[in-house]
């Protein structure tokens, strides 16, 4: 894995590294989305489930800032709920995939031999299992629940961290400074904090950003095939499915979840700061 520093040495390749500006833009966008999801309801508290069949498909206006959906529910209320849900799920599943992924990755990289090989085998098998199958089965055990999607996605995502961290740890552990630290009798905790984590962190954050966008897209795709969350939950994929028939009658409605999903994935992609290697 090449590091950012080596890219800068070759002038032609400077373009390869998106400027930190892009990362800043990503972070700003994410902050705005978080603010939209969690802060807007504070001053404009409308239920995402309250129906008013007499006022359906109203265009954006003073009473309903983003209009109302076919059941007369406030689009603003629904969008904020959907953003909270998608972001919450993405962050949660990424965090819970990263922790075991990093821990097992470090252990496997540190301890070549039986431990490494058996962990590697597990990872290989999980990787070869269609991740979708796992998510589908879990979604079937507890249909329409948040946790089944979350567990399914986290179970699929952890392998990536494991593989990257294991490879990185292998090289890091044989580096002179780590060898010295070990000879000087520093414990594994210290070595991890001082020598491994600073090197691993950029990789892990990049993976996390990509993982978050994968999670957001996966949830909306599952919503689209009616396996994910169920109505009346406001979820971006479900909202798109519900609003699609109205694309001609009320195009502004369908555009809202599409744009929101796009911005969310975009913010994660920008935040990753690097492109797939």
């Amino acid at each position: 894995m090449t590091t950012t520093a080596t890219h800068h040495r070759i002038p032609l390749l400077r373009l390869r590294v998106p400027l930190p500006r892009a990362r800043m833009a990503g972070a700003l966008l994410l902050a705005l989305l978080i603010a939209f999801g969690w802060l807007v309801p504070l001053w404009h508290d409308v239920s995402p489930h309250h129906q008013d069949l007499m006022h359906t498909l109203t265009p954006p206006g003073a009473e309903h800032l983003l209009g109302t959906d076919p059941l007369g529910r406030s689009m603003l209320g629904r969008l904020t709920e959907a953003v909270r849900l998608s972001l919450g799920l993405a962050l949660l599943s990424v965090a819970s995939a990263a922790v075991p992924g990093v821990v097992f990755g470090v252990i496997a990289g540190w301890r070549p031999g039986l431990v490494d090989r058996s962990l590697g085998l597990v990872a290989d098998v999980v990787l070869a299992l269609p991740g979708l199958l796992l998510v589908l089965l879990l979604a079937a055990i507890a249909p329409g629940t948040f946790w089944s999607l979350y567990v399914g996605i986290a179970l699929v995502l952890w392998v990536e961290y494991f593989r990257v961290v294991r490879t990185a740890t292998r090289t890091l552990i044989s580096a002179p400074q780590v060898q010295c630290a070990r000879m000087l009798g520093f414990g594994p905790g210290y070595i991890f904090r001082r020598h491994l984590w600073p090197e691993l962190a950029p990789e892990v954050t990049t993976l996390a950003a990509f993982g978050a966008s994968t999670a957001v897209l996966a949830v909306s795709s599952l919503g689209f095939v009616s396996i994910g969350l169920r109505p009346p939950t406001a979820e971006l994929g479900l909202m798109m499915t519900e609003l699609f028939p109205f694309y001609q009658e009320a195009p502004w409605l369908l555009a809202q979840p599409v744009i929101m999903l796009f911005l969310m994935v975009l913010s994660f992609q920008l935040l990753a700061g690097r492109e797939p290697q």
Binding site: L132, L133, S221, I227, P276
Partner: protein, 314 residues
């Protein structure tokens, strides 16, 4: 042992493990799924509003659902060893036959999607990787990020609106004619092309900046000759290697796209099998997908070995 044989052996072991895990996992999970299985299967067979207690009891008796779980589990592996995947609980047809038909359709879709993705992504990546224009690179990046940020079904709907409704060039959905393949394949390909183009771009830029490439130009080869003789082969290694990673994206896209385009593929069937609790069908589908995944990864490995000029000479 030579490294090639070693890596093949590894893949064979992996395939065996996958078979075991798929069998066990689907078995355990489907046994723990909520809802009475007999009712679910009856719903799958007779249509949702025709399920009655009588139909469910008939299903229960016919399939001996109350039988020992351990016995059923061992039975499945025994049958698998003989190449028998059982019969679908819903259609009563042999699973192997159904899978053959479904897998054919999915493979067709995925194959065309990959080829399309390469055809779109690679030339774009080569051009932007070779050119020193900042703008082209930025444009490529923006397009790639945009394509990756849209879920496949949104792309699919957009394509239908454009090519079937507005222009009337291609059929919106269905199967049976070659033209039916283009829109679903393109919906998948655009997402894949986004990544391929970036990987190609990086690889090309790296090759273009390398001493051997500069030497090739210096010895008098034209830009085109240098690209064909020295560039492409080096660029192709990371591009092909990345295809392996993208297979996951492809499989997930397939489920959604098949559902949108009424394409009779394996992803669509898997969703139905899970809903109807058609255990042999779930197991068969998962097994085929898992093994297919191992096989494709092995092929990607082999291709990379064959393509990599460095590895060949050493």
């Amino acid at each position: 042992m030579p490294p090639l044989a070693m890596s093949l052996l590894q893949r064979v072991c992996q395939a065996g493990l996958v078979a075991w895990v798929v069998g066990t996992l689907t078995f355990v999970l489907t046994r723990t799924l909520p809802g009475d299985m007999a009712y679910r299967i009856a719903a799958g067979r007779y249509g949702h509003e025709q399920v009655t207690a009588a139909a469910a009891e008939a299903v229960r008796a016919e399939l001996a659902l109350e039988g020992s779980a351990v016995q059923a589990y061992l039975q499945w592996f025994g049958d698998l060893a003989r190449g028998d995947l059982g019969r679908s609980l819903v259609s009563g047809q042999p699973v192997a036959g159904e899978l053959q038909h479904l897998l054919g359709h999915s493979a067709q879709l995925a194959g065309v999607a990959i080829v399309m993705a390469l055809l779109i992504g690679v030339p774009f990546g080569l051009a932007s990787g070779l050119s020193r224009h900042r703008l082209l690179d930025r444009l490529g990046l923006a397009l790639a990020v945009a394509m990756r940020s849209l879920p496949p079904f949104v792309i699919g709907l957009g394509l239908i609106m454009l090519f079937s409704i507005t222009l009337g060039w291609l059929p919106a959905a269905g199967s049976g004619h070659l033209t039916h393949l283009w829109l679903p394949a393109m919906a998948l390909a655009l997402g894949l092309a986004a990544v391929s183009s970036r990987v190609t771009h990086h690889a090309m830029a790296r090759v273009a900046a390398s001493p051997f490439y500069a030497f090739a130009r210096q010895k008098g080869l034209s830009a085109r000759q240098a690209l064909y003789r020295h560039g492409l082969r080096n660029v192709s290694v990371p591009v092909v290697a990345y295809l392996g990673v993208q297979l996951i994206y492809l499989m997930e896209g397939v489920v959604v796209i098949e559902s949108l385009f009424a394409w009779p593929g394996i992803g669509h069937a898997l969703v139905h099998a899970v809903v109807a609790r058609d255990v042999p069908m779930i197991q068969g589908t998962a097994l085929v997908l898992g093994l297919g995944f191992v096989l494709l990864n092995a092929l990607v490995d082999l291709a990379c070995r064959g393509l990599d000029p460095l590895r060949q000479t050493s």
